[in-house]
Amino acid sequence: MRTLLTLIASLLLSWCALGQTTPYYDALMLKGYVTPRGFIAPQTKEEKKLLDSILNYYSYKSGQNPFLDQFSTNGEGLSVSEDGKKEGEQPKFLQLAKPISSIGSLDVTNLAEGMALFMIDRAKEELTVSFFNRFKEFTQEHQEIKILFPKTSDCLENLLDVHYAQMLPALRTKFDEDLQNIPNNMADLLDLPQYQPLLREFPEIKITIQTLQIIHQMETGRLTPVDFIAKLGSLEAWNQNNQSSDFNNFRSAIKLGAIFSESLRYKDGTRNWIRPQMLDSLVRDTTCSKIFLGLLYQRLVTENITFKTYDNNTISAAALLAEQKENIDLFQRELYRFIQLAENVDLNIQEIKEKKKKSVKITPDDYYSYINTSLDIIDYSVEVASLFNPEINISDYAYLARKSNNLYRYCYHKDYALAITTTTDIITRFETITKQKKSDNKAKTLLNEIIEKGQNDRYKDFDSELDKNSFHENHLLVRAIKSDNNLKDSTKKALLSYIANSEFNKLVALNPKIITFGLFMAGMVAAETPEEVQLAIENAVLPAGSSSIKKKSEWNIAVQSYLGGFYQLKKASQENTSWNNEFGLHGPIGFSVSYGFKKWGAISGFVSVFDLGAIIDYKLTKDSVITSNGASSGTVVKKEGKITLEQIVSPGVYLVYGFPGNIPLSLGVGTQYGPGLSKISQGGVNVVNNPSWRPCVFLSVDIPLVNLYNKPR
């Protein structure tokens, strides 16, 4: 008997040691128990014990697994044991330890240092003081920006104390470091105390932050990709009470992905998942595939993973799997897809290990490939649910997870511009989620009730105060609310949530500036020539698509220019005045005050100060002069003389309509006092000294230079 027990124990131990706690390995083993007739029927007592242990581990119940039930039989021997139980019925076998995590960890701690060496020092004095000053003020005014770009903020503090030509290399290093660290900085940002009530209310945001932090663990080698997915599925935040169907679906999708990934885990720590060749033995054998799906099904039953459909019905993941019972091909295809992605990860890891072994320098690209392929498989895992039923809505959360993954991906590949827009996308999507929940309105109603009932005078101007308060002041307010014994707990909770929402809205409002400065930082880091540095500055000053700002805003005041053609409504009486053309090019620069109609465009009052039309005309002419032999030449005409201020001053007033959508064209009507402009032509310089008024209409490209004031809708 002792020998028998030892044998059973050693079999079970070897089962554990071989890691046969994943559906893949268990399916292969159980395949060996399938009789020629197609039933699972272990032959020896030891095999029977092992089968019972496995079925117990997966909490298999007869008649409830559409896959495994195909392999069962309904006949039985008709004896009972002395205690009245069905003979041969096994007691609940001791639960085997869940797969041990943290195997096969990879040391990637040198990554951050390796990535930080990207530096060039060819920038020149094109940087403008005003731009950097604005940047500096922005970081000083907003605590959030200091957290998002900590090193840049510190560096900018001292900007005016030294010449920024000397400062620029250091500044660029800080840009690089901050941008590279954006995922972690963002996690820190959302970890601020003022957001905590919000995070409690919206665990999905918390999960996104934790996702970022876990990816960081993977990056530093403390976590393997397969453990990452498992860890993601077991976050405490999933257990937070949240009735939202979207949240539930997201939680379920993650857990489903984790189970799916776990089911194909490799037996020891030498790799994460099984090899594609190993999958052949599972996929090419329909029996084995069915057993595998049966075991997977059982895991889903045990975990009780459910999804909400669009019509708000609840459906279990197990039922979804069962619906595809006859569609074995689908699973086989998807298993291959998954393992192919997994193989990419494992190959990258192997390469890095090999390099380490041979003391070959590991480049940031090596780590990028590793993280990139890991994130691919995480993406895929999250979307496994949609294989079963494409109608399951996890869009908001899957979007967040994908964006979080992409954020890391972009940072690793130094696609900082994309990293910045992804960061703001994530913040914006948080806002969408919180708005959808309408908790803000609930808190506001509660607040109004408090004020109406006069329960506490202290919160009388609470609403308006929040907008004016700084983060620090609101933080003090949070503390005051917490310690206010006159308030009920539910009221405190609502107020804190309201403050959090308010703080969060402020953060969302910062998005445009984060994009402006973030893209500038990204451009600066990427710039390798002085021209590119200049371009980075120009992009920051004149962001593409900025003409749409005035359309989307309620009110906007900007330094504005237009470039286009005019049609003179009333021709000047004298031939030698400056405005003697009926048609022409104009380029007024001035100030505009605009009122936006969203998708219907914007109407602006524009006061011009200067007009560079003739100079631009000259530039364009110069660029298109045709030489006698037909070849183009850029230097046929040389400009002579100097342009004086009086030659470009051209005050005027216009009423301008900005076309709807993203069309950057405007139609204006008004009048302008013509400058004493040197008219330049191939024939030489002809200075006209007789300025006059010119009433005209124009159709021009709308080029806002600097937004001075913007009131969003």
């Binding site: 009789t35 029927a41 021997g77 008709l78 009972v80 069905k86």
Partner: protein, 354 residues
């Protein structure tokens, strides 16, 4: 108990192993006093059971003869198979029909058999694994060996069955008794019947399936018409499903179990398919030597081989007996009883008088 050494036999000290120390051997014909139990040990010539004496010396059981040395001591406890055999006069009927009964071809469809068990040695005639063809019929559950002991246990050591020492066909139709993943379903049963019915007069089935499968019914009808008698357990309340087929078919003799007080067993399902109830609780019978050689089991499974033995005796007396003849004969030894408004026929006081 005493056994007789039949071949030169080494005395092994301390362990039932060919590697244990050996200082002497016994010559054929030597009588040896052993404690009567079988111990699992090294396998020699397919036999892995050993005997032990008071001093702790072990003897390979394949090297001794049991029966001539000493008659089987029977305690005649209600747990003993032979208690019930004697109680209902089955031993007397066997003695009377000994010659004829050896001609009755008996098959048991179950979890297999331990052919090397001292109480079942050399009794298996034909065997086949219907769960997994070309595999052995070894019993890794114990159920089949237990039922076999009740039916044909030779009594060489401990268990003497209804038809002691008779030959038996063995069809392995399930690897284990527990429903689910044991290989037993209608298809397996049909295969088994097709295989064994042509070479059987009586088939004992201590197993069942929960549903009526027309193909199974058809095959049973066919072989019943050819004179094969099917004896099957009706099922237990504890079964994961009411595995009442084939017992419920009219062509089968459905068997329920009685407790030691001859009252319908609490385990037996209440079903009109029961033709006869026989004691089936806490029956001590053979189990594979690797599991300890002997053990108690309860249920309609245990009552069934008793009844199969009775049917074989009736068939021995009347080789052309049909299933209705058998049922009539059984009716002679049973009484109609009622328990909680359930009527059943049970063997209570009458003896089989053939």
């Amino acid at each position: 108990m005493k056994v007789t050494v039949k071949t030169f036999l080494n005395v092994r000290v301390g362990k039932p192993s060919v590697n244990a120390p050996c200082y002497q051997y016994l010559a054929p014909g030597t009588e040896l006093e052993v404690d009567g139990n079988l111990y699992p040990g090294d396998r020699v010539e397919g036999i892995d059971t050993w005997l032990k004496d008071e001093a702790g010396n072990y003897y390979w059981s394949g090297g001794v003869n049991y029966a001539p040395a000493t008659p089987l001591p029977l305690s005649l406890d209600k747990s003993e198979v032979f208690y019930w055999v004697q109680r209902f006069g089955l031993d007397e009927a066997f003695e009377r029909l000994k010659e004829q009964v050896t001609k009755v071809r008996i098959t048991i469809l179950d979890t297999g058999i331990d052919e090397k068990h001292p109480d079942l040695t050399n009794q298996v005639k034909q065997k086949e694994n219907l769960v997994w063809c070309n595999k052995v019929v070894d019993d890794n559950d114990g159920h089949g060996t237990h039922c076999s002991g009740i039916l044909v246990g030779a009594g060489s050591l401990k268990v003497k069955g209804v038809l002691p020492g008779c030959k038996l066909n063995v069809g392995k139709v399930m690897n284990f008794t527990t429903a689910g993943f044991n290989g037993l379903n209608a298809e397996t049963l049909i295969d088994a019947i097709n295989t064994f019915a042509p070479i059987s007069d009586v088939i004992s089935i201590s197993a069942g399936i929960p549903n009526d499968v027309p193909e199974l019914h058809q095959i049973i009808k066919k072989f019943t018409a050819e004179g094969v008698l099917f004896v099957a357990a009706i099922g237990n309340i504890e079964s994961s499903s009411t595995a009442s087929y084939p017992a419920k078919y009219d062509e089968c003799i459905g068997v329920g179990a009685l407790d030691a007080n001859l009252v319908l067993s609490k385990h037996t399902i209440r079903d009109s398919g029961i033709d006869i109830c026989f004691p089936g609780e806490n029956i001590l019978s053979t189990i594979p030597t690797a599991m300890g050689s002997y053990g108690s089991k309860s249920g309609t499974s245990m009552a069934t081989p008793f009844v199969a033995g009775i049917v074989a005796l009736i068939k021995a007396k009347n080789s052309s007996a049909t299933v209705s003849d058998i049922k009539q004969e059984l009716a002679k030894i049973t009484e109609n009883k009622t328990l909680n408004a359930f009527n059943y026929n049970a063997i209570i006081n009458k003896k089989l008088n053939l």
